[in-house]
């Protein structure tokens, strides 16, 4: 074994789609690929993994469409017999008796579980610093955060210790870490992917999606994820099939640039805005039209989100009471036990959000906060509908800044929350959105976000693919630093 990186023989440099092809042609063995990734994941120095498989599970059949290319999975997906703690101490020792539908579907499609990835506790955070198991480091610069909450999944894919990964997105938790780590992250239309077995944060917003090295890999993974599930009563499925992007054409595509999310005075970092504007120019040169559009209520999306998501969380997290699973701390009687268990088991940000949600739902405040936020949500969805009458896609920078330094924003919740400024509106509207790598600013990755109407995933993937081909960004760049 040689210690230097030999790009011609390092099979972990293949994209997932290329690995699938190589296995199909008999040039690569699935077992060898799994072992290469298992070794990379076990040797991970970024704290991206909370658990790594000892050995490849029984092959799901070399004929399965994903051919045995292994998958890293965010900790909050329940996986039978495997630690699934959602990054929280309150679920200490929890090994679920069942597997999340999407994880089971992907295993059956030939993507076996490689490991469970670190995350912000219960997916609450934008930096991965809220994990009970320590922060994840950004492979581009280990003094910086990878973004969150799917920070472990993003860092693992960027650093090359996973070919692809599953994440969840409630207000940006796939797209923002994808942007900060220089990879692709896609949040599907709400309802296309089953939520069964996903440890819940805010049920009306949570949606699983792929984090990958390129757009083709995102399409390949998403294709096997979508589908109606009887066990998720808000599940819809996807009309038709997800197709792999091929054309790479932007001719005649109308891109709307919302002033409210990318204009002057919004607070987007200069370098991020420059990279965004350069890509808009590139899109025009490829035949797209680029015009300013308006989402008048988008500036209020963050406020509505930070009412609705904590309100749903305060209800969802009521189940952690020391009775059925996880940690229990005895303290006198029943209420004493509940209270002590929760106070010792939850981290600071989770407590803050439970408090915020409980307050906004409490008697006397419900109409002023929760009721109003639900009406703002209606207006935001209407804004998008209006925009999509004129434009094929609305595009924005994914995050307002590049990856920031560890600890830089932990003392001020509001400064952390504004990281979601450009991603929350799409979550509230339930529409699909993708972040693709958009070049560097000061040596760190930036993201370009496209969103379209509900179920426009195939068109969105085509447009993202066209931009990806034109920008020519190599997601494997993070490895130089990792």
């Amino acid at each position: 074994m040689t210690t230097s990186r030999d790009t011609s023989s390092d099979i972990t440099l293949l994209s997932a789609a290329a690995a699938v092809d190589a296995i199909e042609r008999g040039e690569l063995s699935a077992g060898e690929l799994f072992e290469a990734y298992r070794a990379a994941a076990a040797g991970d120095e970024l704290n991206a993994y909370l658990w790594v498989a000892d050995e490849a599970p029984a092959p799901a059949g070399q004929d399965a469409p994903l051919r045995g290319v292994p998958l890293a999975v965010k900790d909050l997906f329940c996986t039978e017999g495997v630690p699934s703690q959602a990054g929280s101490k309150i679920l200490e020792g929890y090994r679920p008796p069942y597997t999340a539908t999407v994880v089971a579907k992907l295993a059956a499609a030939g993507a076996p579980l490689l490991g469970k990835t670190n995350q912000d506790e219960f997916a609450m955070g934008s930096s991965n610093e809220n994990s009970a198991f320590g922060p994840v480091l950004n492979p581009w610069d280990r003094a910086r955060v990878p973004g969150g909450s799917s920070g472990g999944s993003a860092a693992a894919v960027a650093a090359g210790s996973a070919p692809w990964a599953l994440g969840t997105d409630t207000g940006g938790s796939i797209r923002q870490p994808a942007a900060l780590c220089g990879i692709v992250g896609l949040k599907p239309t709400y309802g296309t992917v089953s939520r069964y077995g996903m440890i819940a944060f805010a049920s009306s917003l949570d949606q699983a999606g792929p984090l990958t090295r390129d757009v083709t890999d995102a399409a390949l993974l998403l294709k096997q994820m979508v589908g109606h599930d009887n066990r998720d009563s808000t599940s819809i499925g996807f009309p038709g099939e997800i197709e792999l992007p091929r054309s790479g054409s932007l001719k005649g595509i109308r891109l709307g640039v919302p002033e409210e999310l990318s204009g002057a005075g919004v607070g987007i970092e200069g370098g991020v805005l420059d990279a965004f504007n350069a890509t808009l120019k590139l899109a025009e040169s490829l035949g797209a039209t680029v015009e300013t559009c308006h989402l008048p209520h988008a500036p209020h999306a963050l406020s509505a989100y930070y009412v609705l998501a904590p309100a749903e969380a305060s209800s969802n997290l009521a189940r952690y009471d020391g009775v059925r699973y996880g940690r229990r701390v005895e303290n006198g009687g029943l209420v004493g036990m509940y209270t002590k268990t929760r106070s010792e088991g939850f981290g600071r940000e989770v407590k803050r959000r439970i408090m915020l949600g409980t307050y906004s739902l409490s008697s006397g405040y419900y109409d002023a906060y929760y009721g109003r936020a639900q009406r703002v949500r209606t207006k935001i969805a209407d804004d998008f509908r209006t925009a999509f009458a004129e434009f094929d896609f609305v595009v924005t920078p994914t995050a307002p800044s590049v990856a920031f330094e560890l600890g830089a924003k932990t003392s001020d919740p509001m400064s952390m929350y504004v990281n979601d400024y450009c991603t929350v509106p799409m979550s509230l509207a339930g529409i699909p959105a993708i972040s693709i790598p958009n070049g560097l600013s000061d040596g760190l990755p930036t993201g370009f976000q496209l969103c379209g109407p509900a179920f426009s995933e195939n068109r969105m993937l085509e447009a993202a693919y066209a931009l990806e081909q034109a920008t020519g960004f190599e997601a494997t760049g993070a490895r130089i630093h990792a």
């Binding site: 409980t358 209606t378 207006k379």
Partner: protein, 99 residues
């Protein structure tokens, strides 16, 4: 502005016990966040229907047929304490303040 008394009230509703330091910090942080959130109070939302869910799915029903479910011992395997095929909890009567 959320004062100390409101923080304690909400913490009690949420079954959280906060230290004095946490109460002070929570009061300041929640006040700051709510200060931003209150901007939605300026919007004219008269006659706008609320959105509880973006997806129009109502009464998702399936045939009422018996399907296999988790065996009792598997469902109880993660519980901190069990007895007689159920979850065992401390007695509510042992609470100093049972509210």
């Amino acid at each position: 502005m959320i004062d100390r008394e409101q923080v304690l009230h909400v913490a009690r509703l949420a079954r959280l016990e906060l230290t004095e330091d946490e109460v002070a910090r929570m009061s300041a942080e929640l006040s700051d966040v709510l200060g931003h959130i209150e901007k939605i109070g300026e919007l004219d939302l008269d006659g706008v229907p609320p959105t509880t869910h973006v997806v129009e799915v109502s009464n998702a029903l399936r045939p009422d047929e018996i399907e296999p479910s988790l065996p009792c011992e598997v469902a109880l395997a993660n519980a901190p304490a069990v007895a007689g095929g159920g979850f065992l909890v401390p007695s509510p009567q042992a609470d100093a303040d049972p509210s």
